[in-house]
Symmetry: none
Subunit: 213 residues, 4 copies
């Protein structure tokens, strides 16, 4: 997930501190009002700095968005492996992945929606940085799937594709929260997701394994 956003300031600690202020404020405002309706002045004000200050840590308004989306993508890449690591068997890892992804999304609903709304507002090059990050996170899930296939726990589906279905299923919780929240809780959503997504691919052995508990 390599990227560099240029800054006029040298001190790395200061850069980190200021960028956090800016990104936090921007995330909140972008999520609430959208990228285009949010002004740099709004962000600066909420971050408690001057508008000019922002441009010492960022080249563009685009860059602010990039930083915000990067933060989201990195949070996924950071938290998902941790959740998976707790499970010991391949199948448990897969269940954990489905469930964990939904939880991570739930914690960052606004930011996840933002990613869908705004990634395309980024110039091609910056957009690709985000997409690369996304693909890498998906790969983590695809690897678990691959492992399950090789272990004979689930049948031979396209791992990448299945990973995408799991991811999209989780994202749906954020994208359609306005409605889903009216018909079920997060835990119910996860249960039905696991039950449908997983049962659709389990082998006999996998099935036995899962119900044996």
């Amino acid at each position: 997930m390599s990227y560099t956003v240029a800054s006029a300031v040298e001190d790395p600690d200061l850069i980190q501190k200021r960028r956090k202020q800016i990104v936090d404020a921007a995330t909140e405002l972008f999520a609430k009002d959208g990228f285009f309706r949010t002004t740099i002045k709004d962000i600066a004000k909420l971050a408690g700095v001057s508008p000019g200050l922002v441009y010492q840590y960022v080249t563009d308004k685009d860059d602010v968005l990039l930083l915000v989306l990067l933060e989201v993508v990195e949070a996924y890449a950071r938290e998902l492996p941790v959740a998976i690591a707790k499970a010991s068997s391949p199948l448990d890892r897969l269940v954990a992945a489905i469930s964990a992804y939904c939880h991570i999304v739930d914690e960052r609903r606004a930011a996840t929606v933002l990613a869908y709304r705004s990634t395309k507002s980024l110039p091609k090059h910056k957009r690709e940085i985000i997409q690369r990050g996304e693909t890498q996170t998906n790969q983590i899930i695809a690897d678990v799937i691959q492992e399950c296939i090789e272990g004979g726990h689930i049948r031979d589906v396209n791992p990448e594709l299945f990973a995408y279905q799991i991811v999209m299923n989780a994202h749906a919780w954020a994208l359609k929260a306005w409605h889903l929240k009216t018909i079920c809780t997060l835990e119910q959503y996860i249960d039905q997701s696991v039950s449908i997504l997983l049962r659709g691919v389990l082998t006999k052995r996998g099935e036995a394994e899962l119900t044996g508990r």
Copy 2:
């Protein structure tokens, strides 16, 4: 799907004709450049009318977006029932729904992505009009699911929730086309979708029914 977008012009035929010009142009441009980067002038030019003319058929730039999204939502509501009607058994209807929805999405990839990006740019009231339309379309699928459950073809899942999973699965084809297109064709995508989503919920009877052919 009731809504009214005010117009200064009286003649309903003219309103329809002009709005079609405007909406067609806007759909193309919004999809390509996004709502905020598209100007009323751009739309007018592509529609072959003057910028002032637009405001005789629309109150706002927002209104243009509303009209565009309404058109998308209505297309779903129009085409989905047709596709389902061709199938004779409940289970076939469900398979048809999953497949048809993917096809409809594929034909309107840009517009579907647009809906995700831009619905939130609408003021609350207008946004709800769109969401209402979406919910109605989902209901069509939920009804098919309900029918399958009652017929004992699939087990007792939450119909609304399952409908959402089917819808999101289709939308994913548009939202992640940039990557999915690199790993499979639409038909492969549909196959794996049906296979996973459906197998996850089939009852013994449903299973027999499906493999019996």
Copy 3:
């Protein structure tokens, strides 16, 4: 002196009218405060239009400057031939050129100074448009000089170079008006200019010709 400054407005009469308003206002302000200290808003206000209007007739602030300088350069190209045409002999034409150029400069002192201050503020390409116009005007004088040389009225100097000296001598009246005005009138300036510049190059015949009157 070909050039085109793009305009969003179609009607040529309107373009001409508005551009005149804008250029007149800009010329006054640029001359008084300089290009960089003058804002588009200042220009618009003095021209009696809105700031946005300016950008319907001009692409850039640079373009305003280009238009202003073009007007100056064209005024030279327009008025100089007229003044020269009145004289019947080559030598008279040369005297007329020296004198006329000074008068033209005097009438546009501010604009002439502006050209010296600001031409370099133009991007290379636009700058060259101006320089081309300047060179063309110089050529008019160089031609008269050539004619005088061929007629044996003045000795064999480099016509282009001598033309430049005549031009610079006139420009000096604008560039150093702050001081020259304290030591002589325009007519005195012209007299001494003619007397020095011309006497320095006259042949015997030319001398006789001139003093014979």
Copy 4:
């Protein structure tokens, strides 16, 4: 050429050293990019100091310009007398002045152009400091002219005015270098300048004197 640019620093040696750094850098940048397009940061960086440091030796950005222009004007005042002193007769001194001024200009073409572009950017008071310096340098030439007149070498022209013509003739070499350089060398330029400017004012005696060699 009295002037004082205030400084927060006391040590005169340091002031001189720092100001030289600043002025050297500023001269280069102003000449290349113009006063307004050059930022204090640019200057500081090229001078190898911090932006804040600049403001310890200067009150204003204007002040930097003043210092730069002062340096130019002083260079003229310093070098011209030296060149003249070498000549022994009044007429030789006049020829030397014309020639030397052109050489001095040639060595500082960029700075000379800068003076024309930017002097007016100075507030009235600071501008007058520069103009005073300029006038003093001109006086040096005017004095030589006066001497020539009194000695009967040249006829009775307005010394100040003639001095201006000589100065402008030299400045032209810088101002119009973009074109003059394409038609002659500096030496050719000087030759034609001397030949035209001088021959225009020589008395019989002066003429004899000059051709006698």
